[in-house]
């Protein structure tokens, strides 16, 4: 019975993480460039149980078989499905019509990737993201350049395009917040897709999916809670009522 408490406890922890992820997705339903996340769970590895019997065969090691103690979070999966494109008429909004990411320069020198093309000019006329990180571009000669300068008419410097980076199929990018992703040592490769001006890619959150997941989590949690209360009741009987005269 004590084992059941542990199992249910672990299960509720996983459900709580799921609730958190769903809430985060729903909160970002209108954030441009946002990619929704799913929690992936798995059972923990099974362990072999043994006991040492008393009685005539004292201290004999007897294997009892395998036992799984509960489930846990295996990881998170980010869906890279494209969101809807919305026309904004802002000359510094871009979308990538196809695969690839915008390449952003982080203040510590690292590179981040994003699908959110919601750029603007900062005080020094550099093309930056909403958080102020400069966007990396590429010149006609193939040289990467950062920062890119623009003017108040909505044009960038001549002969400079935005650097679009692609990754091999199935690469799992690390989330960094602010709709940015990191990729460790793997730099990715330059992709020839064009960045289209005047449009913005919206969030790819599917609201109906998220609502259904919310219902599932709530009911699963309720089921776990009922199981926990039943275990509690059984244990109560075993501890307090067996052998009562």
């Amino acid at each position: 019975m004590i084992k059941s408490f542990n199992t249910l406890n672990k299960s509720m922890n996983v459900l709580q993480k799921k609730q958190e992820t769903i809430s985060h997705n729903v909160a970002n339903v209108n954030t441009p460039g946002f990619k929704y996340q799913d929690v992936i769970q798995r059972t923990q590895e099974s362990h072999d149980l043994v006991n040492f019997t008393a009685g005539r065969e004292r201290n004999l090691r007897r294997p009892l078989g395998e036992w799984v103690f509960g489930n846990e979070i295996e990881g998170y999966h980010t869906s890279l499905q494209a969101g809807n494109f919305v026309k904004t008429d802002d000359p510094f909004d871009y979308v990538i019509a196809g695969e690839g990411f915008f390449t952003i320069q982080l203040p510590d020198g690292g590179t981040a990737y994003s699908r959110s093309g919601n750029f603007s000019l900062d005080q020094e006329n550099r093309l930056v993201t909403m958080e102020g990180y400069p966007v990396i571009g590429i010149t006609g000669g193939g040289q990467t350049i950062s920062p890119i300068y623009g003017d108040s008419q909505g044009n960038l410097e001549a002969n400079v395009n935005l650097l679009i980076t692609g990754f091999p199929e199935g690469t799992e990018l690390e989330r960094f917040g602010e709709t940015l992703f990191l990729n460790g040592e793997n730099q990715g490769f330059q992709v020839e897709t064009e960045a289209v001006k005047g449009y913005l890619e919206m969030s790819n959150v599917a609201i109906s999916d998220e609502m259904v997941k919310l219902i599932q989590v709530a009911r699963e949690f309720e089921a776990n809670q009922k199981a926990l209360m039943t275990s509690d009741e059984t244990l109560n009987k075993a501890v307090n009522e067996i052998g009562r005269v």
Binding site: S23, A27, T31, P32, S120, Q123, F176, L228, D232
Partner: protein, 224 residues
């Protein structure tokens, strides 16, 4: 589970701010020279596997041209194209506006309806001299997004004073049309659509809060 409520709350706050901007937009659909504000949503920073929610803020303004409306009044002016009128307030600070509803004061100075004088010369204000509408200079800054909104359709160009004007750079500016006023660049169709989307997003976030609340109630009821 309290931080999950925090995520829902961040969603509510972000959509509330968006709703404020949309309401402002609709309220100012007839305000001359009004330029609508844009609210941007950003995913909040997460550390490793902890999600934190969303944040919104007014970061950009939309300076697209509003329509021109003929009034026939001699001192009403509208700018067709880029640029702003520059006026001085009572403390002597310069501010920009697109609202060209001016009048002639008793001293012969062009002022707006609150008495702030219009700068009609690149060096300063000319008093009592004959000037034509074509000679009135327009001003602007390099980066429109650096203008600070003062409210009442006024924009402050910042302390640097790095202003460009139409006398030195005629190509970067538009023309002044006398007898016209520029209408608000608010667009009711967009505003109403945004209102519906924002309202939906608000409802969805309150739904996640309700759901989390249910879970927490279940936790509390585990021990009778």
């Amino acid at each position: 589970m309290n931080h999950i409520l925090g995520i829902g709350r961040s969603g509510l706050n972000a959509n509330q701010k968006k709703m404020d901007a949309v309401s402002d937009h609709i309220a100012n659909v007839s305000t001359e020279g009004y330029k609508k504000k844009e609210v941007q949503f950003r995913e909040l920073l997460s550390n490793e596997e902890q999600s934190v929610g969303v944040k919104s803020g007014v970061l950009k303004a939309d300076y697209t041209q509003g329509a021109l409306r003929a009034t026939g009044y001699q001192w009403d002016m509208a700018i067709e194209g880029q640029g702003f009128f520059a006026l001085t307030d009572e403390n002597g600070n310069v501010f920009f506006t697109r609202n060209g509803a001016f009048q002639l004061s008793n001293d012969g100075i062009l002022t707006d309806h609150e008495g702030n004088p219009l700068i009609t010369n690149v060096q300063g204000i000319i008093q009592g001299e004959d000037f034509s509408v074509e000679d009135i200079p327009l001003f602007s800054v390099d980066n429109l997004q650096s203008l600070i909104h003062l409210g009442k359709g006024r924009y402050f160009p910042g302390e640097d004073g790095n202003l460009i004007n139409s006398i030195e750079n005629p190509d970067a500016f538009g023309k002044i049309q006398a007898g016209f006023l520029e209408e608000s660049n608010a667009d009711l169709t967009t505003a109403f659509t945004e209102m519906i989307t924002t309202q939906r997003a608000y409802t969805l976030n309150s739904r996640t809060i309700q759901s989390t609340d249910d879970l927490m109630r279940l936790v509390n009821e585990m021990k009778r």
